[in-house]
C-alpha cells in the first residue's frame, strides 16, 4: 500500500504544478466570467428602455391608427414617461399620375352626386305634380318628367358604374403604393415592423404584422395585448359601456412566479433555474476530463518512454493504476475547491449575487461532488484501459475525443432535461453510465429526482466503475508492454482472458 500512496502523491504534485493544470483551472472560469460580463452588459443594454417604432398602414379611412396611438401612449417606458411604442402613420407617397387619377375619381364622384341630386329633384317634382287635380296638363307633365327621370337614372347608373370602376382601380393602386412605402420604411430601418389595419378585419380581430426582424415576432406580445385591449374597448363602447368601467375591466393580471423548493419558496429566475445547472455541468466536465486526460496521456507517455516498465518492477498493477487514479482524482477535487473559492471571491467582491446561487445548497453540492467522484473513477478506469492498449498517441487521441464528446453530449439535451427533468426518457438516459453524472447534475437543481433515481444511478456507476477497473487492470497487466503494436479487438478480448 505504501507504493500506492507514493504514486498518488507523485501524480498529484507533479500535475498540480503543471502548466496544463493551471490553464485548465483558471482559464475556463476566467473565460466564463468574461463571457458572462459581456452577456450581462449586452442584456442590460438591450433592456435599456428604447421606444419601438412601429408603422401603421390603414387601408381605409377609419382613422384606427390615430386611435391606436392614443391608446399606446398610455403604455410608457419604465422611468422615462415616453411611450413604449411609437406608431407611425404610414401614408402613400402619391405620384403625379396617381394624383391625377384621384382627381378623376373625385370628378366622377362629383358627377355622380350631381346626377343623384338631379334624379332626386325630378322625383320630388313628380310627387308635386302627382298631387295636382287631374287635367291634361298634369298628364303631360307626368309623361314629360317620367322621361326626364328615366333618362337621369340611366345617366346616374352609368356614372355610378364608371365611378366604382375607377375608384376600385385607384384604390388598388393606392394600396400597392402605401405598402411599397411601408416596405421601404422597413428596409431602411425607420420602422421595426408595421401593422396593416382594415376596418372590417380589425373588428373581426384580424391584424397583419410585417417585419424583417425575426426577434420582432418574439416581442409581438405587448403589441398584441394593446391591440386586444383596443379592440375590446371599441366593442364595449359600441355596447354603451363607460370608459372608466372598461378600464376597470381591462386591468391586467400580474402573476408573481414563485418556485417552491422544499420548505423554501423563492421567486423564479431563469438564470438560477436553467443557466446555472448547465454551467455547473460544464465545469464538472472540465474537472472530470482534466485529470482523466492527464491520466491518459501520462500512461501513454510512460508507456512510450518505458518508465511504466520500470514502475512495474517496483509496484504491482493495482498500486500503479490506483495510485495514478487517486492522485489525479485529488487533483480534480482541488480544481473544484479552487473554483468554489473563486466563486466565493466573486461574491465577496460583489460581482456575483448570492441570490443567483441559491441552488448551491449543501445537499446539491454533495450531489455534485458525488457524481464528480463517480464520473471521474468511471472515465479514469476506461482511460487506463485505452491508454495501456494504445501505444500511438494520435490513435489514442481519437478515442479520447470520442469519449469526451459522449460524456458532454447531455449538454445537447440540456433543454429537454431542464424542461422535463423527471420524464421517462430522461430517467432512462440517466442510468447509462457515460451520461449519468451530467444527467443527474442537470436534473438535481430543477427536478428534485426521486430518491430511487439516485440509488439506481449510483449503483449503476459503482458497478460500471468496478467492471471498467477490473478490465483495465487486466489490460494493463497484459498489454502495457506491447510497443509499436496496437492489439485488435479480438486480440484485446484474448488478452482479457489470457495470461499476464
Amino acid at each position: 500500500m505504501r507504493n500506492l500512496w507514493i504514486i498518488t502523491g507523485w501524480e498529484f504534485w507533479r500535475h498540480l504544478k503543471s502548466r496544463s493544470f493551471i490553464l485548465a483551472t483558471f482559464v475556463p472560469p476566467l473565460l466564463f466570467t468574461v463571457v458572462a460580463f459581456i452577456l450581462f452588459f449586452f442584456y442590460r443594454e438591450s433592456r435599456t428602455p428604447q421606444p419601438r417604432v412601429i408603422g401603421c398602414v390603414e387601408l381605409d379611412t377609419t382613422r384606427y391608427c390615430e386611435a391606436l396611438q392614443e391608446k399606446l401612449n398610455n403604455f410608457t417606458l419604465p422611468g422615462t414617461g415616453s411611450p413604449a411604442v411609437i406608431l407611425m402613420d404610414i401614408q402613400a407617397d402619391t405620384t403625379e399620375p396617381l394624383r391625377n387619377l384621384f382627381q378623376e375619381v373625385a370628378r366622377l364622384k362629383h358627377e355622380l352626386d350631381s346626377l343623384n341630386d338631379a334624379y332626386n329633384r325630378i322625383k320630388e317634382r313628380r310627387r308635386y305634380i302627382f298631387q295636382r287635380p287631374n287635367s291634361p296638363t298634369k298628364e303631360r307633365l307626368l309623361r314629360q318628367t317620367y322621361e326626364q327621370l328615366h333618362m337621369t337614372r340611366e345617366q346616374r347608373d352609368l356614372a355610378e358604374i364608371e365611378f366604382n370602376r375607377k375608384k376600385a382601380y385607384v384604390d388598388s393602386l393606392w394600396q400597392a403604393q402605401i405598402l411599397r412605402t411601408a416596405d421601404s420604411l422597413l428596409f431602411n430601418q425607420i420602422v421595426e415592423g408595421y401593422l396593416i389595419l382594415r376596418g372590417e378585419e380589425l373588428l373581426n380581430g384580424e391584424v397583419e404584422f410585417h417585419s424583417i426582424y425575426p426577434n420582432q415576432f418574439l416581442q409581438i406580445e405587448p403589441l398584441k395585448t394593446v391591440l386586444q385591449e383596443f379592440l375590446v374597448e371599441m366593442r364595449l363602447r359600441q355596447e354603451g359601456i363607460t370608459i372608466s368601467q372598461i378600464h376597470e375591466w381591462l386591468k391586467p393580471v400580474v402573476i408573481n412566479e414563485i418556485l417552491v423548493e422544499g420548505a423554501k419558496k423563492r421567486e423564479f429566475s431563469f438564470l438560477q433555474s436553467y443557466l446555472a445547472p448547465i454551467i455547473v455541468v460544464v465545469f464538472l466536465f472540465i474537472s472530470i476530463f482534466t485529470p482523466a486526460g492527464f491520466l491518459f496521456y501520462s500512461l501513454l507517455s510512460e508507456k512510450g518512454n518505458r518508465v511504466l516498465e520500470v514502475l512495474m518492477t517496483s509496484a504491482n498493477s493495482f498500486q500503479i493504476i490506483a495510485g495514478k487514479i487517486l492522485g489525479l482524482g485529488f487533483l480534480g477535487l482541488v480544481q473544484i475547491l479552487i473554483w468554489l473559492l473563486l466563486t466565493e471571491g466573486l461574491i465577496l467582491a460583489e460581482l456575483l449575487s448570492v441570490e443567483n446561487l441559491t441552488f448551491f445548497t449543501l445537499r446539491n453540492l454533495g450531489v455534485f461532488v458525488l457524481y464528480f467522484v463517480l464520473g471521474y473513477f468511471f472515465f479514469a478506469a476506461i482511460y487506463v484501459g485505452i491508454g495501456t492498449v494504445y501505444s500511438d498517441e494520435d490513435e489514442a487521441h481519437h478515442v479520447h475525443l470520442v469519449l469526451r464528446m459522449l460524456s458532454i453530449s447531455p449538454i445537447l439535451f440540456s433543454v429537454p432535461i431542464l424542461m422535463f427533468p423527471n420524464a421517462v426518457f430522461v430517467r432512462i438516459l440517466s442510468f447509462i453510465p457515460f451520461l449519468t453524472p451530467t444527467f443527474m447534475i442537470l436534473r438535481t437543481p430543477l427536478g428534485h429526482p426521486p430518491e430511487i433515481d439516485y440509488v439506481i444511478s449510483i449503483a449503476v456507476m459503482l458497478v460500471s466503475t468496478i467492471v471498467a477497473l477490473l478490465v483495465s487492470i487486466r489490460l494493463f497487466r497484459t498489454s502495457s508492454l506491447f510497443y509499436h503494436h496496437r492489439p485488435g479487438w479480438t486480440e484485446v478480448w484474448k488478452l482479457l482472458w489470457g495470461k499476464g
Binding site: 507504493n3 507514493i6 518512454n305 520500470v310 514502475l311 512495474m312 508492454l481
Partner: protein, 300 residues
C-alpha cells in the same frame, strides 16, 4: 543475490516464443544473455522480473520466489529509456528510490550520493529536459541504481548510449561484480559482453543454443578461424583438408580449422587456389561462435 531460472517457457501465438531456458547466476558474477533482435532476451528478463508470466518454469532468488522485498533489491534498465522530462533530477531519483522502499530521508541521501558519484550534483535541481542527451542517459542509469540493488538487470544498456556513458556502464558492471552483486546483461553486442560476462547464454529464436562460462565456450570453440575475401569463387575452399566447417557470407569465407591440423598448411592451400584480397587468422569471437552455433543448429 543468486538467481536460478528453471525451464522457463512462454508461448504466445503469432509472437515470440521462449523455450526451456535455464540458468544460474551467483553473486559477483555477470550473466550475459546474447543474441540478435527477436532472440527472446527481453522476454526472459521480463519473466525474471515477473512482468510477464512464464507458461512453464520458475525463477528463484536466493531460493525464494519473487517477493516485494526481493523486488526492491532489483535494479532494472529497460531497452528503450526515458524519464519524466519536466521534472527535477533530484525529485525523480527520490521518487524511484522511495518506490524501492527507501525512507524519504534515505532516498534523499542516496539520490545526492549517487548524483555526486556520477558528477551530476550541480544538475540536481535541473529538469531532465534542460540537460544534454548524455546527461539524460546518466539520469536513466541513476534511476536504476539509486536504491543500491543487489541484482542489476540491464536490457541492451549500450544501445543508443553515448561513448562516455557506455564506459560508465562498463565500470558500473565491474564495480557491481567486485562488490559481489549479481548482474544480468542482455545485449546483442557480443564483443562487449565477452569482456564483461562470466557466463553466457547464447539465444536464437527463443532457445538457448550455447551456454556456459566464457572460458568453457572458448575451450569448446578453440579452433582457428580463417577469414578469406577474394575475387574468385570461394566455394571450392570448403574442400581443403583440415577445414572442419565452411561458411560463405557476402563474399567472405569463414573456414573453421580443425584444432589438430596445422593452420599453415591450410593457408598455403588457400593461396594456391584463389586470388585473395584479404586473409586473416583469428581465434573465433563470440559472434563467430554464435554464427557457428546457429549454423550447427540449422544443420542438426
Amino acid at each position: 543475490m543468486k538467481v536460478v531460472a528453471e525451464k522457463l517457457s512462454r508461448k504466445v501465438p503469432d509472437r515470440l516464443t521462449v523455450e526451456n531456458i535455464s540458468f544460474e547466476v551467483t553473486p559477483g558474477k555477470v550473466l550475459g544473455l546474447l543474441g540478435p533482435d527477436g532472440a527472446g532476451k527481453t522476454t526472459i528478463l521480463r519473466m525474471i522480473l515477473d512482468l510477464v508470466k512464464p507458461d512453464e518454469g520458475s525463477v528463484r532468488f536466493d531460493d525464494q520466489k519473487l517477493k516485494p522485498e526481493i523486488r526492491n533489491q532489483i535494479g532494472y534498465l529497460p531497452e528503450a529509456r526515458g524519464v519524466y522530462p519536466h521534472h527535477r533530477v533530484i525529485d525523480i531519483l527520490i521518487y524511484f528510490a522511495r518506490l524501492k522502499r527507501l525512507s524519504r530521508k534515505k532516498a534523499q541521501v542516496e539520490a545526492v550520493r549517487h548524483l555526486d558519484r556520477f558528477d551530476m550534483i550541480d544538475f540536481m535541481e535541473h529538469t531532465v529536459q534542460e540537460l544534454p542527451p548524455e546527461m539524460q542517459q546518466k539520469v536513466q542509469i541513476l534511476v536504476t541504481i539509486v536504491h543500491d540493488p543487489k541484482l542489476l538487470i540491464l536490457d541492451e544498456p549500450f544501445l543508443g548510449m553515448a561513448n562516455l556513458n557506455q564506459d560508465l556502464i562498463k565500470k558500473l558492471i565491474l564495480r557491481y561484480k567486485e562488490e559481489q552483486r549479481t548482474v544480468i546483461l542482455a545485449t546483442q553486442q557480443m564483443n562487449l559482453a565477452e569482456s564483461l560476462c562470466d557466463q553466457i547464454l547464447l539465444l536464437h529464436q527463443g532457445r538457448a543454443i550455447l551456454q556456459g562460462s566464457v572460458g568453457q565456450i572458448r575451450k569448446k570453440y578453440r579452433e582457428n578461424l580463417v577469414l578469406v575475401e577474394g575475387e574468385d569463387n570461394l566455394t571450392d575452399l570448403k574442400k581443403i583438408s583440415g577445414v572442419r566447417k565452411f561458411l560463405l557470407q557476402n563474399q567472405v569465407a569463414r573456414l573453421y580449422v580443425d584444432p589438430n591440423q596445422p593452420v599453415q598448411k591450410v593457408l598455403d592451400q588457400i593461396i594456391k587456389q584463389v586470388r585473395i584480397t584479404r586473409l586473416e587468422v583469428n581465434r573465433p569471437s563470440l559472434e563467430d561462435i554464435y554464427l557457428e552455433a546457429v549454423n550447427n543448429q540449422g544443420e542438426a
